[in-house]
Symmetry: C2
Subunit: 360 residues, 2 copies
Amino acid sequence: MRVLMVALISLILASCGNKSADTDTDIKPDTQKTYSWKLVTTWPKNYPGLGSAPENFAKKIAAMSGGRIKIKVFGAGQLVPAFEVFDAVSQGTAQVGHGAAYYWTGKAKAAGFFTSVPFGLNAQEMNGWLHYGGGLELWRELYSPFNLIPFAGGSTGVQMAGWFNREINSMEDIKGLKMRIPGLGGDVITRAGGVSVTMPGGELYTSMQTGVIDATEWVGPYNDLAFGFHQVAKYYYYPGWHEPGPILEFIVNKEAYASLPSDLQAIVESAARAVNQDMLDEYTARNNSALVELVETHGVDVRKLPDDVLTELRRLSAEVLDELGQDSEISGRIAQSVMEFKKQAMEYHAISEEAYYKVR
Amino acid sequence: MRVLMVALISLILASCGNKSADTDTDIKPDTQKTYSWKLVTTWPKNYPGLGSAPENFAKKIAAMSGGRIKIKVFGAGQLVPAFEVFDAVSQGTAQVGHGAAYYWTGKAKAAGFFTSVPFGLNAQEMNGWLHYGGGLELWRELYSPFNLIPFAGGSTGVQMAGWFNREINSMEDIKGLKMRIPGLGGDVITRAGGVSVTMPGGELYTSMQTGVIDATEWVGPYNDLAFGFHQVAKYYYYPGWHEPGPILEFIVNKEAYASLPSDLQAIVESAARAVNQDMLDEYTARNNSALVELVETHGVDVRKLPDDVLTELRRLSAEVLDELGQDSEISGRIAQSVMEFKKQAMEYHAISEEAYYKVR
């Protein structure tokens, strides 16, 4: 009887307790199982704004999951180089990546649509298109063959046109201009007779200083001030026609995501959404004070690109986007979706956001 | 012996099992404990946009917590009337509320600053101020004596100035105008010689139809189309000077929040943040197509308020805000914080968001 009682108690104990998988699977699968993920980024570790988003993502997920998902964040080059993030997550070397879709146009040309296109949507509109205009579904379709699930992962807001050591008074001044400007914006500058150059952020200061390049775009006052471009450039031009609403991305390896129980999947999704807004909030607050410092402390010469230059850049941008839309069947569908959204958004924002900016 | 064994087994069962608090506190407190919360709102159940935010909040929390927090959403009047949401959550009748801070100016006058003020910040700027400009800390300080923790809970974007049955060509046309416009916007209209009226949304259509009021503001195309105001009003004026960036709120009862383990607290916080962006995304997408329908299908006469009227409304708004800032010590600090943020945001947005809208 004593033996029976001990056996019975053991049986009961085995079916409850903290570590018991049996108890868990009865009701909630995997509530004790933990996941160790690697997150690789295209930014230096802890780079202001851009690099703090993946850190916040990891922290939020750790807190919400009670430590069930631990994410270790690697800056560019720590686990894989910046431009191997896409492949690393696709192949499962890391479970998550943080970067920007337009870095992967070599893999899928239409990826360019999902960061920002010249004269395209601003950040608020990009988020509207992605989450309520069919954009995210198209993005996921595009990345599916690569074993990746994309999520919107933050925005810097409208960028600045960049730092110039040459005055831009007409399209003639773009001719021969050596400018660091990647992606579709770079294609537009090339088409305008300039020389678009791609180089890492860390080389820009010296390249401007030594005249290797005449101009560079980067982000906006908050990040630009930190790089000290005001020390090596004469003019700071606006507006950022080439990247009006850049949306960054979290990419998650499909199998890694599928392996999570549904509560952890929901946590990953909401963490991405929360960080997506948080980064824009941070830039919206910090760009302001950085601009004040650039102008009042450093006497930066802030200039608007001439209207006729912007008109011509807009015309060339439409050509570039038109060609991109003809690149493949899915490119065509993405181009159509985003252009229709833009047409309506422009009509409504002309009488709402834009009209309000003018009168306040 | 049999009795002892049963007692022993009962004791063991009582200390493990799904509902056991004892076992849980050993390692991860309360991982099996469930919480049933009530959420009361100031909107009708499932009202488009406004009313879907609390539903999304409840769904996200249920999914992320694996059902550990179950939130039942009550529309206005189902558990408490719309304008008793603040008291109900303060007193713990419900654990969460969803509404807008400017409904509670009778409790704390400075609450008006946390939704939207005439000629104030737009939605992107409000989010920047709240989350990176000290706004949220001030909001929490203001609500603390009421036993409440506020979270940003969505935005409609810039609203429309409203539906009018009187042409507005000068300030003379505001004189005697009976307009449904609550809050600080209403104070401005009163100061301009109009008659500001407060009435529930459900009465507006008939009041416009029968001439009880000459004008009403509501939200924007998406919600306005659903109410059918185009059938009873001649003119649809913009821009929404009175509510340029309304931020809604989730309010959580302090003790209810404190009773949650930290992972569930993190889940509540991120769910609010995700919904905060999600609602703006929804309005950004749906206002567009609703405007197209209003104009193209219903032939709505969309008009801009004259510049001199807007200039005078801006002057009166500054007076109203100045008085509000003098209402109490905390009002003064909030006014100073938001006005400083606005000054910088206007400078930066003039060369970024606003400049881009003009040239794209």
